[in-house]
Symmetry: C2
Subunit: 289 residues, 2 copies
């Protein structure tokens, strides 16, 4: 069976009961809630949940329905830019589902949100119907014209941006130096925007509590640019600067597959295939959620 993740953002970070209610409706749809975080200042919550491809769309729809019924943007204030009560709803393939499967789910769910809830929908990234909608920031800043489904924003719920994207891994490398300049130079060397590895975003920051410089990275396609490739690139640049690696951190969740790829690479396994892993031989692997 397939496994798809959904990571919707809601414009409510102060009333836990409203988020509880959304979590309940997600669980009642047969999906598994993996994580939830709320931020008071941003007045925003993120819920991470997973289900098989045939369940995830219904769970996301029910979550949006609950948010539309309970969150009123007219009485809302918060630092984070937002366009809707349910703000952004990305579908992410984990196992046994493709990015195209997720794009299809996103479009179907988007259509339902407009037809049944009367809230207009923009489709972004892999689900985008127009090239100008691929980038979420362009939709947020009103640079893309009318929604893909519907027209005028809903008075209390605004609009929803629904889409599909690959799994994002947040991976930070701590350097054995407090010199944030070195971390910034390494970030420039490894990230795609300044000529480095594809699907890699990076910045240099100071970890004040530990007085260590850190290369903070987002891997937006770990199958194309795996964790070990990013790590080895940072290590090589750090060595060149005469700096060791203090350690690393994975922020949030990482899919099993990314660690399997890393282990197989370091161990130089010639016959590596998912089928050599015991758990992968089990029926319903990763589909039972």
């Amino acid at each position: 069976m397939s496994l798809v993740e959904c990571v919707p953002n809601f414009s409510e970070g102060r009333d836990p009961s409203k988020i509880d209610s959304i979590v309940e409706t997600i669980q009642a749809s047969g999906a598994t809630v993996l994580d939830r975080t709320s931020d008071h200042d941003h007045h925003r919550s993120v819920i991470t949940f997973a289900a098989s491809a045939d369940v995830i769309g219904e769970a996301a729809f029910r979550a949006v329905e609950r948010a539309v019924a309970s969150i009123d943007l007219r009485t809302h204030s918060g630092v984070h830019p937002r366009i809707g009560a349910a703000d952004v709803v990305p579908f992410v393939p984990v196992r046994g589902a493709t990015l195209q499967d997720c794009a299809r789910i996103a479009r179907e769910t988007g259509r339902r949100i407009w037809k049944e809830l009367g809230v207009p929908v923009y489709l972004y990234e892999a689900a985008a119907l127009r090239p100008e909608c691929r980038n979420l920031a362009d939709i947020r800043h009103g640079r893309v014209g009318s929604p893909d489904y519907g027209d005028e924003h809903h008075p209390s719920a605004g609009a929803v941006v629904v889409g599909a994207r690959k799994f994002l891994i947040a991976f930070n490398v701590n350097l054995q130096t407090p010199d944030v300049g070195i971390a910034k130079r390494i970030a420039r060397a490894v990230r795609h925007s300044s000529g480095g590895l594809p699907h890699l975003k990076a910045m240099g920051v100071l970890l004040a509590t530990r007085n260590l410089a850190q290369v903070s990275m987002n891997l937006t396609d770990f199958e194309e640019t795996p964790i070990h490739v990013a790590f080895e690139a940072v290590r090589r640049e750090a060595e060149r600067a005469g700096v060791g690696i203090a350690g690393t951190e994975i922020i949030g969740l990482v899919p099993e597959r990314a660690l399997e790829m890393t282990a197989a690479w370091y161990l130089q396994v010639e016959n590596f295939a998912p089928g050599i892993i015991l758990e992968n031989r089990l029926e319903n692997r990763s589909g039972q959620v």
Copy 2:
């Protein structure tokens, strides 16, 4: 939920229909068959299956019952030493179950085999009731006296050796040399029996088809001596001999956990915990078999 593996050996390697029948009864008990291999010369078959701790004992019992009904040792010949129709039945903890849990399951299953089938049972390794029964070879060679349950061997089915052991990982490292002497020296340096790493067995062999020397290893407790520790020990010895690593092979199955440990070690992950892996957050993780 828990996950336990069982890897019974049967004294039948020539009639596939008898093994089919055993496989069917295992599946009918709710366990998942992961692998099966039969060897004509050894006249022997190995079936690998997995289930939760509360199902695995029943599935193993039904498999032994079927073997006792269909395999007659009096008409049997084969190279492999054997004491029973169902010869050796080890239970192996994979996730959410301890070696002690598996020892308990082994003893319960052994008692049932004697009481309901009238076939005597020896208990070995972690399930052993007497120190002299810990080593399977001592039981095979008749050095341990009477069975733990029952007495005289069954006329057609002999006896069954039931036990509990840790997961065994077969991991081979191919060297960039045809000199098997180097592989033998490395094996001596890394294996426990000659003063090397605990829970590691190793020998040097020649891979004739590729004209490469190989360090062939069994890791009998990958949580105490993980794959990366064995690999780095071999690599260091090989470097000392001026030889590179051509590649490695994992023979049979490897539990996900062993690869997670390896990835976390090479990536120097400071905050590594099973909970950062997405699949581990799913309900019924690894229990749905």
